[in-house]
Amino acid sequence: MSMRKQLCKCAVALIIAHMPGVSLADEHPRLGVVASVEDIANVDLAINRDGAGLPPGRGSVAEGAIIYQARCAYCHGSDGQARGLEIVGGIGSLASEVPVKTVGSYWPYAATLFDYTRRSMPYDAPQSLSNNEVYSVVAYMLALNNIIDEEKVVSDETLAGIQMPNRDGFRYDDELE
C-alpha cells in the first residue's frame, strides 16, 4: 500500500472518529453471519481463467451438438451465426475494417465459456443444464469455431488448457491492482 493511501485511510478513520455518535471506524453492527460451505458452493459460479473452480465433469462435441440444436439454436442459429447473436466466426478479423467479435474470434479464455454458459445460458432457462451438458455444449461451440476437433472431449482438466485464438489480444493497466 502506498504511503498516500495509508495516509488517506488514517484521515478517514480520524474523520469518522470525530463524528458525533460514531467513536471508531471499527465500531459497526457486525451483523454478517458465517456462511456455510454449502451456501458458498450454491452461489459461487465464478471460474478462473486457469480453470480453478471448474466442477468435475466432461462432455463431447457430439453430445454438445444435440444439446445445442435443442436448447440454443433457436436463438443463436443452427450454425451459430444468427444475426446479432453470433457465437461463431470472425477469427482473424479484429484488426480489419470490419471486425467481428465472437466466442471464436474475440474471447481470450476457454474457461470463461464454461463460466458464462453455466451462469447465463440458455437465456430462457439459465442454470438448467447439468455440468456435463455445459461441458458438451462448450465443446460444441469450440468445435463450431474450429478451435478443437470434432472427436474431442472437454473436461475440467482440459478446458482451461485450450488455447483461444485471441488469447493475447487484451491488455489492461495493472496500476489498477
Binding site: 433457436y74 489498477l176 491492482e177
Partner: protein
C-alpha cells in the same frame, strides 16, 4: 408602422442594440441569462393589443382531488418517459435499454422513474426477505448479510452520475442517428445514493494475503458478473440501498447494488448477490466479450472503468425544444469520471468560435453539471456544440479523433463533442462535426 408590424418585428429579435456578443453566431455575454431572457420575453409580448381576460379556469371553482399516497407526474407530462430500445426482439424481448429523456428535463438530478436502465436479462422480481449478499474467497471467514442487516449499518450518501459505457453508441455508427437527444445520450443519469461502504463489509470478512480483486455477481437470471480491483473498493465503493431518499427501484438493482462514482455503470453490479475476493480478475464474459474496447489495431483494452469527460446540449435538442428566432437559453449537461467539471464552452458556428457557458452551482464532483449560455438566433443555419473540460484537465475529443482510436465496431466510451445542426424551422438535428 402599424402596431401589428411593430409587434412582429419585436418578436423577431435577430439582434438588439444592447446585445454583448462573446462568440460568433449570436452567442451572448452571460449577463443576458435570466435578465436577457426576461427582457426578451417582455419585448416579444404584443405591445399594442390588450390581452382579454380568460374565463376563470374550472380548477379554481371547486376543490381539487385527493393527493395519491405516492405521487406521480401531472397527466399532462405523461409523454415524458424513457426512450426504450430493444436488441434481440422476439428472441429476448425483455432485453432492453431505457434512456433518460434528457431533452425533457432540467436541473441535474434525474427523477427515479426516469433514471436510465440497462440489464442483461430483464429486471428480476427479488423478494428482499430471501435475498442475501455473500462475501467469500480470499477472506478469513465467509459471511453473508440480509437486507435488513445492511440497513442497520452506518450509511454514506453521495450524489453522482451513473453512465453506461455504451452511452451515445449511436454516434459510433457511420451515419448520425436522428433519434431524440435522450435516446442517443440518455444512458446517463444522476442521483443521490445512500448505502454501506463496501470496506466495512470486507473488514468483517477479513482479507487474506494475495487478495487483489473482487469478482462480483448479481441475482438476475444472467448472474451478471464483473471484476473490480480491491484498491477501488477501499476508496469509494458502497452497497447502495437508497436512491434519492427512497429504496432503490427494481430496475436500479433492488434491493441492493454497487455504486462506484465516476466508473462505468456496467461495473456497478445491480441486484448485488455475491462478492468473491480473488487474486486475479475473473475475466468474465461481460468484461472481455462485452465492455472491452477494441482498438483500430485489433488489440482491446480491458477494465477501462473511468468515464471520460463529456457534455451535451439538451436544449435546444432533437426531440425536445426547438430553437426560436431571437433569444434562447442554451442549456445542457456536462460530467466527468475524473472529477469536477471545470469549464464548458459553447459554439454556435460549428466550432469556429467558442464562448464559455455559465455553470449552475453547486458543481459537484462526479455529478451531472448543468451549463447555460444565452444565445440570440438570427434564423440562419447554425451548428451548436458544447465542449467540456474537467478538473483533471481532460477535454472532449472531436468525433473524428475519437473514431480514429477505435475499431469500427467499438461502441463503448464515446465522449466526443456533440454537434446539433439547427434547421430553418429551429429543430435540432444530430450531425458529426
Amino acid at each position: 408602422m402599424t402596431a401589428a408590424r411593430r409587434s412582429n418585428s419585436s418578436v423577431r429579435q435577430d439582434s438588439r442594440a444592447s446585445d454583448v456578443h462573446v462568440a460568433a453566431g449570436g452567442l451572448l455575454h452571460r449577463r443576458h441569462l435570466l435578465v436577457g431572457g426576461a427582457s426578451a420575453i417582455a419585448a416579444s409580448m404584443p405591445s399594442g393589443a390588450a390581452i382579454s381576460a380568460p374565463d376563470t379556469p374550472s380548477w379554481m371553482l371547486a376543490p381539487g382531488s385527493e393527493p395519491p399516497p405516492y405521487g406521480t407526474p401531472s397527466p399532462h407530462e405523461m409523454r415524458v418517459a424513457r426512450h426504450i430500445l430493444q436488441f434481440y426482439l422476439d428472441r429476448a424481448p425483455e432485453f432492453r435499454i431505457s434512456g433518460t429523456p434528457l431533452e425533457a428535463l432540467d436541473g441535474t438530478l434525474t427523477p427515479n422513474g426516469l433514471h436510465f436502465e440497462t440489464h442483461h436479462s430483464g429486471v428480476p422480481a427479488i423478494d428482499p426477505s430471501s435475498h442475501r449478499l455473500y462475501l467469500y474467497g480470499l477472506v478469513s471467514r465467509n459471511v453473508s448479510f440480509g437486507v435488513e442487516d445492511l440497513l442497520r449499518y452506518p450509511q454514506t450518501t453521495t450524489t453522482c452520475f451513473i453512465e453506461c459505457s455504451g452511452n451515445s453508441f449511436f454516434n459510433t455508427m457511420p451515419e448520425p442517428s436522428d433519434r431524440p437527444c435522450g435516446a442517443i445520450h440518455g444512458l446517463v443519469s444522476c442521483s443521490e445514493w445512500s448505502g454501506v461502504p463496501l470496506g466495512l463489509l470486507l473488514d468483517e470478512a477479513g482479507l487474506s494475503d494475495g487478495a487483489r480483486w473482487l469478482v462480483v455477481s448479481g441475482a438476475d437470471s444472467n448472474a451478471y458478473s464483473r471484476s473490480i480491483p480491491l484498491s477501488k473498493a477501499r476508496d469509494n465503493i458502497f452497497v447502495a440501498l437508497h436512491q434519492n431518499g427512497e429504496r432503490i427501484r427494481p430496475e436500479q438493482g433492488y434491493p441492493m447494488r454497487l455504486v462506484i462514482p465516476g466508473w462505468e455503470a456496467s461495473a456497478q453490479v445491480k441486484w448485488l448477490h455475491s462478492i468473491k475476493v480473488t487474486a486475479e480478475p475473473g475475466f468474465t464474459r461481460d468484461e472481455t466479450s462485452r465492455y472491452s474496447d477494441l482498438r483500430a489495431n485489433g488489440a482491446a483494452d480491458l477494465f477501462t472503468f473511468t468515464m471520460g469527460v463529456k457534455s451535451v446540449i439538451t436544449r435546444p435538442a432533437p426531440g425536445g425544444v426547438a430553437a426560436h428566432r431571437g433569444y434562447n437559453e442554451i442549456s445542457g449537461l456536462a460530467w466527468s469520471g475524473h472529477g469536477r467539471i471545470a469549464r464548458v464552452e459553447v459554439s454556435a458556428d460549428r466550432g469556429a468560435s467558442w464562448a464559455e457557458a455559465v455553470l449552475q452551482e453547486p458543481v459537484l464532483p462526479l455529478s451531472l453539471t448543468r451549463f447555460r449560455a444565452p444565445w440570440r438566433w438570427n434564423g440562419q443555419p447554425a451548428v451548436l456544440m458544447s465542449r467540456a473540460v474537467d478538473s483533471a484537465g481532460n477535454i472532449q475529443p472531436t468525433h473524428d479523433a475519437w473514431r480514429e482510436r477505435y475499431a469500427s465496431n467499438t461502441r463503448y466510451h464515446y465522449n466526443a463533442v456533440q454537434a446539433w445542426q439547427i434547421e430553418a424551422n429551429g429543430e435540432a438535428r444530430n450531425v458529426y462535426a
